[in-house]
């Protein structure tokens, strides 16, 4: 694969250049504020060679140990389905499934995930062979801008597995009984995925359909 060069980034760069002086002046105070951060270490750490297993394929890559799993997926393996929203574990857009469990890929290092099975949205389904959850999101219009959608779908798929495995939630009434497939449970369990377009009710309908629950 050649140089990764997404068109949106190019667009933003071009816009910044052509917009000229006004923007530069505006950015100056921010740049000054950032200078209080400690300077980067003079010597960069040695890169490490790691083997990542993603969607059933193995990838040997040399990376800076600081690389999050999210950045490794997007910038090194070009799996850009996984999105970077807040980069601090608050929005859920970067949700991927590791060893069957959903996690935020921005809050783990790629080096820490060597030896684990990583599934991204690209591994759940393809345009010609959609995962049931992907098809349900389309049917129920479970998105508007679509940025949170890959995270929502990975999260929803793993969430249903968590209920099946008997993992309780904050809204589970009786801790000593198996949790049920209900909309109340889905809503609580999906709270780690934020949708700023507010497609929540449609997302819930998509999940309910896959779970076989009437809304």
């Amino acid at each position: 694969m050649t140089e990764f060069n997404p068109s949106r980034r190019k667009f933003i760069q071009t816009t910044a250049v052509t917009s000229g002086v006004a923007i530069v002046a505006k950015l100056a105070p921010e740049a000054e504020a950032k200078s209080v951060l400690k300077p980067q270490q003079a010597t960069q750490p040695a890169k490490v060679n790691i083997l990542l297993r993603v969607n059933g394929s193995e990838h040997q890559i040399m990376i800076d140990p600081r690389t999050t799993l999210l950045d490794a997926l997007r910038e090194r393996l070009y799996l850009t389905g996984t999105k970077k929203g807040c980069d601090q574990g608050q929005c859920g857009a970067c949700t991927v499934i590791v060893d069957g469990r959903r996690i935020t890929s921005c809050l783990t290092l790629a080096v820490m995930q060597e030896g684990h099975d990583i599934t991204t949205i690209e591994g759940l389904g393809t345009p010609t062979n959609l995962h049931l959850m992907q098809a349900a999101f389309i049917k129920h219009d479970g998105y508007q801008c679509g940025f949170c959608t890959p995270g929502q779908i990975c999260s929803a798929v793993a969430m249903l597995d968590e209920i099946k495995a008997g993992i309780p939630s904050h809204v589970t009434t009786n801790l000593n009984k198996r949790p049920e497939m209900t909309n109340i449970e889905f809503r609580e369990r999906m709270s780690g995925n934020i949708c700023r377009c507010g497609a929540y009710s449609n997302i819930q309908e998509a999940i309910a359909e896959v779970a076989g629950v009437r809304t």
Partner: protein, 316 residues
């Protein structure tokens, strides 16, 4: 994030030894708080010791009827454990009230105990913070302090400990088992693990440099009704304004710990003698000598009413 050397430790002894002999090293487990802080350069370790492969992820009964929780047990697995759900329900409830499902899948037992405050000024490297830069001042005092502590505070710091899990472990009288860099082990009652800020808010716990938590031990179950009530700005995925962990026995006696009010899980055992006298009397003892700001003064009444609601629920 500044550069660091990454090392996957293969034994507890190796992890503790590396930590003892390496300046600016940090253990990393789930990473959900540490990596966040490293990105902001609030934490700047130059050596990361990954402790995920140490086999500390088991939950086992102890010989005296208690439970030994490995330090690396994920929050999800601890909350879902059958024995915890049955005999230590307040712990399950507290865990499930915290963070999001994704974070609970990553976060570990010991990491949860040692997570840092979510005081916004601690995170903002442009602002003075005695916890981040000792001696630089406290921006929360006189600043935006709605989330901040009301008991055990000092003139240096009014940050809270953000954990829900730790509040329930305090009410369960848990102890923390550790290995020191010289290989010796010790146990620390959870009441003595976290420190009040005093004039050294940057020192948050009583662990030595390089000392590694290996497990949390719960004593034999005490029965009773277990309740964890968290009051927050939204119904899910938010830190507590205040929380109440309670174990109430049939005769009206019991234990109570409060979260979101102090630099450590807050419990006043002597005050629990007043449990049968109701929320007002109990809260007066629990929050004695409270020192509030105009932003967080509401927490005193909120604790009293939440304790009242919890005691009511326990009667039903």
């Amino acid at each position: 994030m500044i550069g660091f050397t990454y090392k996957r430790a293969t034994s507890v002894a190796e992890a503790a030894a590396i930590a003892a002999h390496t300046n600016d090293s940090k253990f990393i487990a789930g990473g959900t708080n540490l990596l966040d802080l490293m990105k902001l350069q609030v934490e700047t370790p130059t050596y990361l010791i990954d402790i995920n492969d140490l086999g500390l992820d088991k939950i086992q009964p102890t010989t005296d009827g208690g439970l030994r929780i490995g330090a690396l047990v994920r929050n999800t697995d601890l909350a879902a454990n059958e024995i915890v759900r049955r005999d230590y329900a307040v712990l399950s409830r507290a865990l499930l009230a915290g963070a999001s499902a994704q974070l609970r899948n990553q976060a570990t037992t010991s990491g949860n105990l040692l997570q840092r405050t979510r005081c916004p000024y601690f995170y903002d490297t442009n602002m003075p913070c005695n916890k981040r830069e000792p001696g630089s001042g406290c921006s929360a005092i006189g600043g935006y302090s709605r989330q901040h502590a009301i008991v055990g505070v000092s003139d240096s710091c009014i940050a809270t400990h953000p954990s829900d899990m730790a509040i329930s472990m305090r009410v369960l009288d848990a102890t923390v088992e550790t290995v020191r860099p010289n290989g010796s082990t010790r146990t620390i009652p959870i009441a003595e693990l976290h420190r009040l800020p005093g004039n050294t808010p940057h020192i948050e716990h009583t662990l030595e440099t390089g000392e590694l938590i290996t497990a949390v031990i719960l004593p034999k179950p005490v029965g009773g009704i277990h309740i964890y009530r968290k009051v927050r700005d939204r119904a899910s995925y938010a830190f507590a304004l205040i929380s109440v962990a309670a174990i109430v026995q049939r005769d009206g006696t019991g234990r109570v710990a409060v979260g979101g009010v102090a630099h450590k899980p807050w419990r006043v055992e002597e005050a629990e003698r007043n449990m049968h006298r109701g929320a007002k009397a109990l809260t007066a003892g629990v929050l004695a000598n409270a020192r509030t700001t105009p932003d967080n003064a509401f927490k005193v009444l909120l604790v009293e009413r939440t304790i009242g609601s919890v005691l009511n629920e326990a009667k039903v």
